[in-house]
């Protein structure tokens, strides 16, 4: 363990954007309005799969108040978008592949007129067969959704010989796990304002998780140099991965350029449901064999992912699931194969957890089933297989040494003892039963080996005498502003009043890579570490020149540069404003920038991660034997992710992530039938309400890192969501002896399972 562990003194501070949020004064980008602003609406496909025979916009154009109607003909550049492969048409020309496909867009004086105009656009379709399941899409004679067929991506990993491993196994468990299409359900739906500027330039006030990537994509669509496009991408009312890909930006941009007016688009919830990204539904079959001591000998995994109509980050998500298929366990023989398949369902893409949630539900389910068969405590079975400090990562690649897996396992093991004891002493209603379950996981941060994952930042003393720190990150609610504030003030010794934080505006910030993959906290820490010494040196040199005091006696402090006296007290010798004026006059630049890459494994393993976080979850459930309803009583997590930078941010990520995963486990499913959404708004697509969550949740942070670990705090944006589902599933089994393998858990299934174990004669299941 690291002895002199980093502890941020200011980690309990209130975050800088807080006051504006609790008073409602913060302007989100969908709150903005500009003079002469028009409202935009997008016409989406009437069918999940069809040929477009004709598009007639004449009547819509004639409607009074309509300023522009655009179709594929109006796209100046590439009619396509997608973070990796631009295979999604901005506006469809001859074919639609899902109900969110855009065909036309309108700018009008009011939203009502724009809506009416959409109704006047006549589109003739010829319906095509609907591929609403990846298995159907893979059939030999299935219609091909894309030039290269319906298989978006194939990924795999192999080590040893699984067949031989199964032969030697005492117990083999094979199970198929099914997980649903989850919706991000950020409270602020997609939107913002796109403003045409002088000389054909464009300002795009629309939330995204990677401003520079949006700029690149828009440049390609608009046929306009990137320098002419400014992306203002922060703040956002939530994203969770869902706003990383382009959404309404291209339509607003083309309409704004065509009308020479600012255009606002703010999708309604229904529009958001239909067009927005979702988490990949997956069918995962795992076959796992153990010897008599519980040592895992072989693990065979088949993943079938429904990626929907277009690729976005589908391949990377499948790669991530493949990588994490063995989780924190050391398995000698592994064979993992994954397919990500195009269908006419909603587009699946980036979502907090990035494929880890799906695969972890299956993996931990296997471990629990094996423990039951072997009659070994499930935590003990994990202990017998868990990775050690210097073990290689799940793809056989070198990773930063860490004892995180054992740390979180032992933490939850201790917690389990307490909770089990409490439960044993509890008197329950005769129609209620309870159970407790645990699960663990490891989760890679950053984009992984072989993927461009640059980061950067800029530090300067601006002319107003503020220490200006600039990153290309976005604030989606996760608290990156608070993280930046804490790290910079503590590393430099300045106060929050001395600081000016700039993020989320391509006109003002350097590229920092994407605000994804739990990388923000890590990258801020690395960037500040890299820039700190040079920046300090620059400022102190100038202060020394100006005051005549030796550099060795000076340091940055709250309010300005201070001199260290003999009695170890400090006295301010120069305010930051004075220093800024001095440096300005003497034409001394204070700007320090850094560019570097997120640390990756030195081994040439595609997608392999290097920095991992670890989490363990304890869930207690109460099952109503009359209704089959499952209620979560406890949802406690232990996390190993290095030192905490922001206490409230950390706890909030774990609790919030946990509850998002509680929803995934028990109620959330963006249900589609024949390519159409059944759950079109929040009355049918359910996210947990305050009544569905434990009134108190525990977050235990294991802050210590391995001795000499130079990589600092890790991000915790995703880890809290990953191992919740299997913990709940295990708790259900603990309560009623039934293994759930399909999410969200069906009350009906639970009721049937429970009634088989019921005492009451009257309570048998109706057939």
């Amino acid at each position: 363990m690291q002895r002199d562990q980093l502890v941020y003194k200011n980690r309990n501070r209130v975050r800088p954007d807080g006051k504006a949020k609790v008073t409602g004064s913060l302007k989100y980008l969908t709150d903005l309005s500009f003079p002469n602003m028009l409202y935009g609406k997008i016409l989406r496909s009437a069918y999940p799969h069809a040929k477009i025979l004709s598009i007639n916009i004449n009547d819509a154009e004639k409607l009074p108040g309509v300023k522009a109607v655009i179709t594929h003909k109006d796209i100046p550049g590439l009619n396509g978008f997608g973070i990796i492969s631009p295979d999604q048409p901005v506006l469809c020309e001859d074919r639609v592949r899902y109900v969110g496909d855009a065909i036309a867009a309108v700018a009008a004086e009011t939203i009502e007129i724009a809506e009416k105009a959409l109704q006047l656009i006549k589109v003739e379709y010829e319906q095509l067969p609907i591929l609403d399941d990846p298995e159907i899409a893979l059939e030999p004679h299935a219609p091909q959704l894309h030039e290269n067929g319906n298989l978006l991506h194939q990924a795999g990993y192999q080590k040893g010989d699984v067949d031989e491993g199964f032969v030697r196994s005492l117990v083999v468990i094979e199970e198929t796990y099914q997980v649903p299409r989850q919706m991000h359900t950020y409270m602020e739906t997609e939107g913002g304002v796109i403003v045409p500027e002088a000389n054909g330039a464009l300002s795009v006030y629309v939330g995204t998780q990677h401003g520079y990537k949006d700029r690149f994509q828009l440049s390609r669509i608009l046929g306009k140099p990137e320098e002419d496009i400014r992306i203002i991408s922060s703040p956002m009312g939530g994203s969770f991965g869902g706003k990383d890909e382009l959404n309404i930006q291209p339509y607003g941009a083309i309409l704004a350029l065509k009308t020479a007016c600012p255009v606002k688009i703010h999708q309604t919830r229904k529009e958001s449901v239909i067009s927005g990204l979702k988490r990949h539904p997956m069918r995962i079959t795992m076959k796992t064999g153990v010897d008599k001591d519980g040592k895992i000998l072989a693990h065979k995994v088949d993943i079938l992912a429904d990626t929907g109509a277009y690729s976005t980050l589908g391949p990377a998500i499948l790669d991530f699931a493949v990588e994490h298929a063995t989780g924190p366990y050391m398995v000698p023989n592994v064979k993992t194969e994954g397919l990500s398949v195009f269908t006419n369902n909603g587009v699946a893409g980036e979502f907090r957890g990035f494929g880890g949630n799906q695969i972890t539900f299956a993996l931990e389910g296997q471990i629990d089933r094996l423990a039951e068969k072997l009659n070994i405590d499930s935590i003990e079975l994990r202990r017998r297989n868990i990775r050690k400090v210097d073990d290689v990562g799940p793809l056989g690649h070198r990773i930063a040494p860490t004892n995180g897996a054992s740390d979180v396992l032992e933490a939850i093991s201790n917690h389990m003892k307490i909770k089990r004891n409490e439960l044993n002493n509890l008197n329950l209603d005769k129609f209620k039963v309870r159970g407790i379950g645990t699960a663990i996981t490891m989760h890679g941060g950053g984009l992984g080996q072989g993927r461009l994952d640059p980061a950067g930042g800029r530090l300067s003393l601006n002319k107003d005498g503020k220490i200006e720190i600039a990153f290309g990150f976005e604030e989606a609610g996760q608290g990156i502003l608070g993280v930046i504030e804490t790290i910079v003030t503590e590393e430099l010794g300045c106060s929050t009043d001395d600081l000016s934080i700039i993020i989320g505006d391509t006109a003002l910030v350097p590229s920092s890579g994407s605000t994804t993959a739990s990388r923000g906290t890590s990258m801020v820490w690395h960037a500040v570490k890299r820039m700190k010494d040079v920046f300090e040196r620059k400022l102190l040199d100038q202060a020394s020149k100006h005051t005549g005091i030796s550099v060795n006696e000076l340091q940055l402090s709250s309010g300005g540069v201070s001199k260290l006296a003999n009695d170890k007290s400090f006295s301010l010798v120069m305010s930051y404003l004075e220093l800024a004026e001095h440096m300005n006059k003497s034409k001394q630049s204070s700007i320090v920038t850094t560019n570097f890459d997120f640390p990756t494994t030195p081994d040439d393993v595609d997608g392999g991660h290097f920095l991992y976080t670890f989490g363990s979850v304890l869930a207690q459930v109460e099952i109503d034997l009359l209704t089959g309803k499952v209620k979560v009583i406890d949802l406690d997590q232990s996390i190993s992710a290095g030192p905490i930078v922001s206490m409230k941010g950390y706890t909030g990520q774990i609790e919030g992530g946990g509850v998002m995963a509680l929803g995934y486990t028990l109620m959330e499913e963006a249900l589609m039938v024949e390519g159409k959404y059944i759950t079109e708004n929040l009355d049918a697509y359910l996210i947990p309400s305050i009544s569905d969550v434990p009134f108190a949740m525990m977050t235990e942070a294991i802050e210590s890192l391995h001795d000499g670990d130079p990589y600092g705090p890790r991000g915790v944006g995703e880890i809290g969501t990953v191992a919740v589902a299997p913990a709940i599933a295990k708790a259900i089994h603990d309560a009623i002896g039934y293994w759930v393998s399909r999410l969200p858990v069906s009350s009906e299934e639970i009721l049937q399972a429970a009634s088989h174990r019921r005492m009451k004669q009257w309570a048998k299941v109706e057939q």
Binding site: V14, D17, G18, K19, A20, K21, V22, T23, G24, S25, L26, K27, Y28, D31, S33, H184, T185, Y186, M187, E188, T189, P235, M236, G237, G238, F240, H266, T268, R269, K270, A476, G477, Q478, G479, K648, G649, T651, G652, E655, G656, G657, G658, V659, M660, L662, N681, L682, D683, I687, P688, S689, I690, S691, V693, F695, A696, M697
Partner: protein, 172 residues
């Protein structure tokens, strides 16, 4: 509520507008508006009171919660003609002269928000709860906030914020 009669409401098929008088955050306003325009659109688009948010549009998330005549209401479910003569309080109207409302302070200090988009509605719901029930039980807190969805916090910080206000007793 002086008159007791049925009122015909005409949709703006041509240019039919009505005049309404409302008190918003203590200030009387005379508005000419389509009778079926949603209150949330009047607040956000016509009056630039964008602290009130819009998310589901069907009263299922609470982001647009305001107080009408002291009652918590989803402003997406109310039309212009229905608020004639009403007194409306939005998030912009609850800051006190001496600073933040104690509920807002508690949300700040307990981490009762992350992205902040549900926060104005949530604060209004808490205010409505504590105005009627200054010392609520766990069950009463859950009931009162059951119509306000938060996707970020998992409600942990929100619950701690409410508990803090209760402990401080500022609403007793």
């Amino acid at each position: 509520m002086g008159e007791s009669r049925a009122v015909t409401v005409n949709q703006p098929t041509e240019d039919k507008t009505i005049d309404i008088t409302v008190v918003i955050n203590g200030k009387e306003q005379h508005l000419q508006t389509e009778p079926t325009k949603r209150l949330v659109d009047i607040l956000r688009n016509d009056l630039d009171l964008t602290g009130t948010k819009i998310s589901c549009g069907i009263g299922r998330c609470g982001a647009c919660s305001v107080m009408i005549n002291g009652n918590l209401i989803n402003s997406c479910l109310v039309m212009a003609y229905q608020v004639d003569q009403a007194s409306i309080t939005t998030i912009e109207g609850i800051v006190r002269e001496e600073g933040l409302d104690p509920i807002q302070t508690a949300f700040l200090e307990e981490g009762g928000f992350q992205c902040g988009y549900c926060t104005p509605g949530m604060v209004m719901a808490v205010k409505s709860l504590l105005a009627d029930t200054p010392n609520p039980t766990e069950e009463q807190i859950k009931t009162a906030l059951s119509g306000n969805l938060c996707r970020c916090t998992g409600y942990g910080g929100i619950i701690r914020a409410v508990q803090r206000v209760i402990e401080e007793g500022t609403y007793l």
